[in-house]
């Protein structure tokens, strides 16, 4: 009895404090959250025509595309972005032969030691990891107007719906429309939208102001397989490549999943039948 009485009193006091000191004051000064001006530019993420080959339950890598994406990374992204969790040996998974991997690794330079123990560049081996373009964070910021280019190894997992995010972001450098600018002006309380100096307008970046300049111009690179290097094509290829770097096991994972689930369905079916049989005599509305 005392426990219940104590409980009721404690409950009423706690809830009373919540209502009188938190809920009532909050409700009196109730205000819906103000939207930031960049909300005006929010766009749905883009999806490449036909979707990504690795998406869906039966996704597969498009090795040609991954190799093109690697080329985009190598010739464009790698001048600022590292890829520190990926080793050159991993390129074999993109369909390169062992000799090609060796040659590809050798076309990169990584810090090595010479015979006097001094740090000096040497050609990379397949066992090396992709080198960072900057020796440290301070150097990276100094070279990029105090912005830090993030490592790209995990970028498609570190952003919501990351493959589509990268694909959209690379194509998000557009002129803001008059209508969007008007909405932004209204949200900002009459202040004109202005992209700060040193930043670039990108409608797929979370606050529409990105430090990275536009990168993918048509025919910026010449694809080894002769594909036409449109902006859309390069964005799609590099998004696919970065999906692979973020999760090389993605396709193996889905394939394993089908085997596992197939087996489980079989085993569960058998289990269900044996359950039915064992219980048959105990069920009231069955003929025992």
């Amino acid at each position: 009895m005392t426990i219940r009485l104590g409980g009721i009193i404690f409950g009423i006091v706690l809830v009373g404090i919540l209502l009188l000191w938190s809920l009532v004051p909050d409700t009196l000064k109730y205000s819906a959250p103000a939207k930031s001006p960049y909300y005006a530019f929010h766009e749905e993420k883009l999806t490449p025509e036909g979707g990504f080959s690795f998406a869906g339950l039966g996704g597969k890598w498009d090795y040609q595309q991954l190799q093109r994406g690697y080329q985009v990374y190598k010739e464009v992204c790698s001048s600022c972005h590292s890829l520190k969790f990926v080793a050159f040996r991993n390129l074999a998974e993109l369909g390169y032969t062992e000799a090609e991997v060796r040659a590809e690794a050798a076309s990169w330079e990584v810090p090595g030691l010479n015979e006097y123990g001094e740090v000096t560049p040497r050609p990379a081996e397949p066992t090396d990891y992709f080198p960072s373009p900057y020796p440290n964070e301070v150097a990276a910021r100094a070279a990029n107007n105090n912005a830090l280019p993030p490592d790209l190894s995990l970028i498609t997992k570190a952003r919501p719906d990351g493959s589509r995010y990268v694909y959209s972001l690379m194509q998000g450098y557009v002129e803001p429309t008059e209508e969007d600018l008007a909405v932004a002006k209204e949200l900002a309380g009459g202040e004109e939208w202005e992209t700060p100096v040193g930043l670039y307008f990108n409608e797929h970046f979370y606050n529409a102001n990105i430090a990275m300049p536009p990168q993918l111009y048509p025919d910026l690179i010449t694809y080894a397989d002769g594909t036409e290097a449109t902006q859309e094509q390069m964005a799609q290829d590099v998004a696919a490549f970065l999906t692979w770097t973020a999760e090389p096991s993605l396709v193996a994972r889905k394939q394993t999943g089908w085997f596992v689930i197939g087996f489980l369905i079989f085993a569960t079916g058998l289990g269900f039948l044996s359950y039915k049989q064992i219980w048959a005599a105990k069920k009231p509305n069955k003929k025992a």
């Binding site: 969790f85 997992k157 999943g257 025992a288």
Partner: protein
């Protein structure tokens, strides 16, 4: 011992419905977590400078490391899913009532240990959410008056989470599952003294009320485990990161705060309760702060679970099963709804209207356990109970070969139960 624990030597009421499967499932997921966790620990390095990289090493270089890690991460979520269903089954059928108070109390202890273990496990990958989640949760200890600050520094090993924190969390994350396993043994031991409860809440009266655990419940648990594993595999293999947060794939950075710090989904209801208290308890017109808002939130958050410890003595209804308690049933479903609302609010940013909604839901949560349950059990007129379990299953005065399709006249087939599939097997 196995024979008497889960073998033919343990007589179990014959009328258990599928809600009684989640105890065995919880035990199963504890074993999954220990098995995957021990192997993951062989490859993981608990050092702030390499923890994130060693997690990626597991994902990329360890044979089937991705499968181990995804099974471990999603295994934690599934452990909580089945434990929540197990707890709410206990709440609906009042499994906490005499003579089973000790089982319930040990269960609450297991749940608290699980929360501690899961929280520390989430810190180990040393991503952004790991770091900032640890910072927020350990910061709660700072709200305790007088000793809060030094206590927090002592627990964390510094003023903010750092390498020492990671190291001790890893140690405890490895230790606690075995403590849980120990308490689970006590939980099962305590269960085997009075025996399992059942959906009618009527105690076992004769041998015809029971069936041996093996083969009857091993078969039922067996196939249902398969079904749950299919859903589990769907997450592990096709949506392994659906229950996680993308920010945790960014390495921890003490200098950059994520836009929204949210804990793992299974903590969200309690996180919402914590954040519902926004105002200091001030003496009106004087400005003297009696209790700061943060401390109120911490008291409420811990209180929301500690209240389960006194539950057996708050609810005094002589009837156990919610099926025979029409008034209680309505409040029970409001409580379930409240938990769902709190989960949503806990994951939402701290702005209106979520604050208002979580305040109302928090108020209901405490009123439910502390005020409504004691009063309802006082004023409610329960429906008539069946004489025995056998009667509930087979109709009155019959043996196993009852000719008539009974059960339809027992109250347990009331339409308020959670969906047809969870009804007693008929």
């Amino acid at each position: 011992m196995v024979y008497n624990a889960v073998g033919a030597g343990y007589p179990v009421p014959r009328n258990l419905n599928y809600m009684w499967n989640f105890g065995v499932l919880s035990g199963f997921f504890l074993m999954v977590q220990i098995a995957t966790g021990v192997v993951l620990a062989m490859h993981y390095a608990a050092d702030a400078s390499v923890a994130f990289a060693s997690t990626e090493h597991i994902m990329r270089n360890v044979n089937y490391g991705w499968m181990l890690r995804y099974a471990h991460a999603n295994g934690a979520s599934f452990f909580f899913i089945v434990i929540y269903l197990h707890i709410f089954r206990g709440l609906f059928y009042s499994s906490y009532k005499a003579p089973r108070e000790m089982i319930w109390l040990l269960g609450v202890v297991i749940f608290l240990l699980m929360m501690a273990t899961a929280f520390m496990g989430y810190v180990l990958p040393w991503g952004q959410m790991s770091f900032w989640g640890a910072k927020v949760i350990t910061g709660l200890f700072g709200a305790i008056p007088f000793i809060g600050e030094p206590l927090q520094v002592w627990l964390v090993g510094g003023y903010a989470p750092n390498g020492s924190t990671l190291n001790r969390f890893f140690s405890l994350h490895f230790l606690l599952p075995f403590v849980i396993a120990g308490v689970v043994i006590l939980h099962i031991w305590a269960l085997h003294i009075p025996g399992s409860s059942n959906p009618t809440g009527v105690e076992v009266k004769s041998e015809s009320d029971t069936v041996p655990f093996h083969p009857y419940y091993t078969a039922k648990d067996g196939w249902f485990l398969g079904l749950v594993l299919i859903i589990f595999s769907a997450f592990v293999f096709f949506a392994p990161n659906a229950l996680g947060h993308p920010d945790n794939y960014i390495e921890a950075n003490p200098l950059s705060t994520p836009a929204h710090i949210v804990p793992e989904w299974y903590f969200l209801p309690f996180y919402a309760i914590l954040r519902a208290f926004t105002g200091d308890l001030v003496i009106p017109f004087t400005g003297v702060v009696l209790v700061p808002a943060k401390l109120l939130g911490v008291i409420a958050m811990f209180g929301s679970i500690l209240v389960w410890f006194v539950l057996p003595w708050l609810d005094k209804s002589p009837v156990r099963s919610g099926s025979y308690r029409p008034l209680f049933q309505k409040f029970f479903w409001v409580l379930v709804l409240t938990m769902i609302v709190l989960t949503i609010c806990g994951g939402a940013p701290a702005e209106q209207p979520y604050i208002l909604v979580s305040q109302i839901a928090t108020a209901y949560y405490f009123l439910h356990f502390l005020v409504i349950l004691p009063i309802v059990s006082q004023i409610e007129v329960p429906k008539p109970l069946p004489f025995s379990i056998t009667e509930a299953v087979l109709g009155s005065g019959t043996e196993a070969s009852a000719p008539k399709p009974a059960v339809t006249d027992t109250p347990s087939s009331g339409g308020d139960l959670p969906g047809g599939a969870l009804q007693p097997a008929e």
